[in-house]
Amino acid sequence: MMIEALIAVALIGALVTFMAPNRIAGKLAFAISLVPAALSIWMFTAFDGSGNALLDGTLAFESHLEWIQLGEYSISWFVGVDGISLPLVVLTTILTSLAIMSSWTPIDDRESQFYGLILFIEANLIGVFTALDFFLWFIFWEAVLIPMYLLIGIWGGPRRKYAAIKFFVYTNVASLVMFGAFIALIFGLGDGVTSFALPEIANAMLNGGPEGLFGLEGTTLASVVFIAMFLGFAVKVPVVPFHTWLPDAHVQAPTPASVLLAGVLLKMGTYALLRFNFTMFPDQVEAYAVPIAAIAVISVIYGAMLALAQTDLKRIVAYSSVSSMGYVILGLVAYTQFGVGGATFQMVSHGLISGLMFMAVGVIYNATHTRLVTDMSGMADRMPVAVGILVAGAFGYMGLPLMSGFAAEYFIFFGAFGADFPYAPLFTSLAMFGIVIVAGYLLFALQRAVFGPYELETDYEVSRAPLHDIAPMFVLLGLIIALGVAPDLIFQMITDAVDPILSGGDL
């Protein structure tokens, strides 16, 4: 019942916060969000699962209740965590608490609605990472859209209406494509499947696969579904060329929403790719490895090049997310223990680092009301702590050893270099080149904005940031370093859940 408790606290908290007076909403939401955070950390320490949730692993905190019987298919409330999902749950709850605290300064309008929506997102994100029934999972997956749409649309920047609707339309159309494909797959699997439970579907896929549907051969159907689902998730991740909603959404979104968007919402895409495409379709992964790896490398390089061309700090961080997500795809397609494990590790690591970066940029913006690198100079002079953290985060992005970014990228490159698909070493080396560009644009931006003599034309008083802006960033920095020094904190658990995928569920 732990997972239910997490979701229920967030949901009820959302409702309570929504009704609460604006004055106390921020503090109230923070207090409420500490409960799921604490519970999930307890879950982390008490985790007793093993193996992969979809492939006959032992689930932790499982609960399975019959919900709806629809013709021959049963739909159930089926939740549980394994070594892949639990770190993401913990990431979600911690990042939500920190994002709430970081909103105390910038959010000064309709606070109760803002914090209510943040908690509502949290509930659904936890649901996405824990649901093991397709129908249930899809509800949570889609339910994330509405609050994020409103967060961007109401509290966003000048072009918020455009950014909000673009975000909504892109991701919703992608979801429909993916949804239609998966339903077709369930029908194609025929009598072998009698429920929407993901383990059952994964099992049926690995033992025979679909029989065919609408005149399509079974293998053709599997390929079509694989491609449609890949495209559906690719928008969410996002990979080039489906990334154009991301910079708009990020730049217009209020900082706390950006933190959640980059930190957790993007991971929904990669998590779903891992759970569906890379777990259920090993043959198609092998068949389409080269094009997927090419997409991954293009995302890495092109995303980084785009970041290089930006002058808005937030845009830089946003585009570098596209680049970082490219590494995740590369790790997944490598289909080795270090590749897939590293990709999962990168999901967590990037969640922390991008969250940190967006917070730091947000804190600077709160003081200066500009994000343009060209406007700023010598910020270190006025905001030493915030800027120091920004620099630390940037080094995390660049993959400085002893920070989690280094471990993640190292695992991915290590796993991808030795992968079986053709030209794996070539793709990997090309992707490695991305790091150089990342270092290039981050150092360039920092050098312009942070160092040198202080110079900023502004009517605002630029001074040190308040403690409640700084504290969340220190927590994140601590986690980044902890994971960088001791990746085994979660990597052990991740590889335990990843191994069965690579051996086709036989382990």
Partner: protein, 512 residues
């Protein structure tokens, strides 16, 4: 169970309670015609609707309509089979009672300062009585009588704002088209009677099965087409949909909600019953009338949902947009008949029934929000609604729930029923590949509908108001009805298991 040691006619209690309530309201009015006790009137009407709801739920739980082999009480027939109380009848009686209760509670505030309140409530409850009887009507005669009992008060209700030109015009339009479609429907009944010699639905089926109607195949086919015309009017489907936008726009908003939810559901129940009971599908039927009537419904379903959606997308007036969206939803529900086949279709018909229940909450709620906006006097267009969430966050949150639910976005009820319709259509495509086109049309139309539904959410939540408004009132009744409808639209999630079971059982029984 001791329920039906009682006389058989008591099985019609959900409808009879409504009829009694309507009469009680008349009595109140004749005792003191010049004073208006709003609380008494609204309270009586709401109490009647809730009592009807409670009894219908009790019956369904107690097992009325559940086949005796499954331990139920079996279906109960009243007045020598003129009415049949089975699961489908009770299911739709529940929908009608729920919508009536919501409407009545909301009207308490909406009608402040209006004349003819007693007449208003008694007409609403009388119309609800007709709809409740439509749910149980089992012969073409009782169907027609119940239909007229529901329609005549509706005409008057649409036109009840006597000083409002729009309302009167809408009432007249609705009445004229209604009269025309009644005539067509009645003519269809006479043709079916001429071909088969029976009005009782099961007798018609027997005559057809025995081959006695063979010489009159063309006559029967024409009669069936005319019946479809009558249903299309009642459910606001193409080709008799064009009254709906005008009538809904001109009518008082609670009445628009009443007509577009309860009246539509009642139209669908007779549609389901007539076509599953009287004209069973099969080669014999097709050979007799010369066409497969599911084809007609497949075409109507696709055209109706597309017409409704595209027209809704171009509206600037919120009420008109909702009216067209209501046409679109009639198209979705028509899938329930289009997907029937000689040996199946329970899933798709059950899904259509679920959709009508969910629709009863979300659509009624949406119209009640419009009623609230009319009560505030903020205007009628999308722009007039800009930024309302600043002053009324709770009502606007409820409206956002209705809009996303109508668009079929999880986690709201509308997603469930649309998903089940989609699953049902896919399953039906095994028997009839044209259903694939219907399923595709459903998905495409749902995706398109998000455009205009989200436009309203955007107006309420994201846009800033053009002018400063005075403080907005919080009328208790309207607020309560809206919040209840919103909560039910959400809470139907965990409770969907029993709803699915009830709807599917009813569909299985109807098709069995």
């Amino acid at each position: 169970m001791a329920v039906f040691q009682l006389a058989e006619w008591t099985a019609m209690a959900p409808a009879l309670i409504l009829a009694g309530t309507a009469l009680a309201l008349f009595v109140f009015d004749s005792i003191s015609p010049h004073s208006t006790n709003r609380s008494l009137l609204a309270g009586t009407a709401a109490g009647g609707a809730l009592a009807s709801l409670a009894v219908a739920v009790w019956f369904i739980v107690a097992g009325v309509g559940t086949p005796t082999v499954d331990g139920g009480l079996g279906e109960i027939t009243v007045l020598s089979d003129q009415f049949v109380v089975d699961q489908m009848a009770l299911y739709f009686m529940i929908i009608v009672a729920i919508v009536t209760a919501l409407i009545v509670v909301a009207s308490y505030d909406y009608l402040v300062g209006h004349a003819y309140q007693a007449e208003y409530y008694s007409l609403v409850v009388l119309a609800a009585t007709g709809m409740s009887m439509m749910a149980a009507a089992n012969s073409l005669v009782t169907i027609f009588i119940a239909l007229e009992l529901a329609s005549l008060p509706s005409y008057a209700l649409v036109a009840i704002l006597k000083d409002n030109r729009g309302s009167v015009e809408a009432g007249l339009k609705y009445f004229l088209i209604g009269a025309l479609s009644s005539a067509i429907f009645l003519y269809g009944i006479s043709l079916v009677y001429g071909a088969t010699g029976h009005l009782q639905l099961d007798n018609i089926a027997e005559v057809i099965a025995a081959g006695d109607a063979d010489p009159y195949g063309g006559l029967l086919g024409l009669g069936i087409l005319m019946l479809i015309g009558g249903f299309a009017f009642k459910t606001a489907s193409v080709p008799f949909h064009f009254w709906a936008p005008d009538a809904y726009e001109g009518a008082p908003a609670p009445i628009s909600g009443f007509l577009s939810s309860a009246s539509k559901a009642a139209g669908f129940v007779i549609l389901f019953r007539v076509f599953t009971e009287a004209f069973p599908l099969g080669d014999q039927m097709n050979a007799l009338i010369g066409f497969d009537w599911t084809v007609a419904f497949i075409i109507l379903a696709i055209v109706t949902m597309t017409v409704g959606n595209f027209a809704a997308a171009t509206q600037n007036n919120v009420k008109r947009m909702l009216a067209y969206s209501s046409i679109g939803h009639a198209g979705y529900a028509l899938i329930g008949v289009a997907g029937l086949s000689a040996d199946g279709g329970e899933l798709v018909m059950g899904a259509a029934m679920m959709h009508l229940l969910v629709y009863g909450f979300m659509n009624t709620g949406a119209f009640l929000f419009v009623a609230l906006a009319e009560h505030w006097g903020v205007g009628r267009t999308f722009e007039d609604y800009n930024g309302l969430s600043r002053q009324a966050p709770i009502a606007c949150a409820a409206m956002a729930v209705f809009m996303f639910s109508l668009a079929g976005i999880p986690p709201f009820g509308g997603f469930f029923s649309k998903f089940f319709l989609f699953m049902g259509a896919l399953e039906a495509s095994a028997a009839n590949t044209a259903m694939l086109a219907v399923a595709a049309a459903l998905v495409v139309n749902s995706a398109l509908s998000l455009y205009y539904y989200s436009r309203l959410v955007k107006a309420l939540w994201i846009e800033e108001p053009a002018t400063t408004r005075d403080r907005l009132a919080r009328p208790t009744g309207l607020y309560a009805a809206i919040v209840v409808a919103a909560v039910m639209t959400v809470l139907i999630l965990p409770g969907f298991g029993p709803v699915v079971d009830a709807a599917l059982d009813a569909a299985v029984a109807a098709l069995g």
